[in-house]
Symmetry: C2
Subunit: 94 residues, 2 copies
Amino acid sequence: MSNESRNTIFIGKKPLMAYVTSTLIQLANLPTVYIKARGMSIGHAVDVAQIVARKTENAGYSIGEIKIGSESLESQDGRTRNVSTIEIEVKRNN
Amino acid sequence: MSNESRNTIFIGKKPLMAYVTSTLIQLANLPTVYIKARGMSIGHAVDVAQIVARKTENAGYSIGEIKIGSESLESQDGRTRNVSTIEIEVKRNN
């Protein structure tokens, strides 16, 4: 498994706390984790990042760089549409 | 009206393009505009910022700093709950 996939949590339709737990496990092993989402899940990515940051601030973690973007998706009727994306860095402080 | 409110677009339940238009009008007059949202509207704030950035990149605007946070809201049953927030800066390049 590549390092890129190991340090990235993709937010989907599971309960929020499932992603919070996954992120905390990754942070125990890695200095930086990226929480990513697109479309309707973007709000949940922010929720997960905020919960993780609150639970880990005493342990020396914080929100780092936040990037937004968009991706072209081809829908089932063959048309392409743009979907927004977000990537939130959670990192160990120096 | 304070400068803070003039350079801030709050994303709510109107159609996306209403906020795109408001943001473009503010950018014509001000060097920096902040697109803000909370809760379920966070994804729409990213959509608006992406559309505005795409429409204005040739005119020399780009996405700046992005901040996330959370606010405590008191619901009608008297309990407080946290809601996530986002603030996206759109700015004129130097």
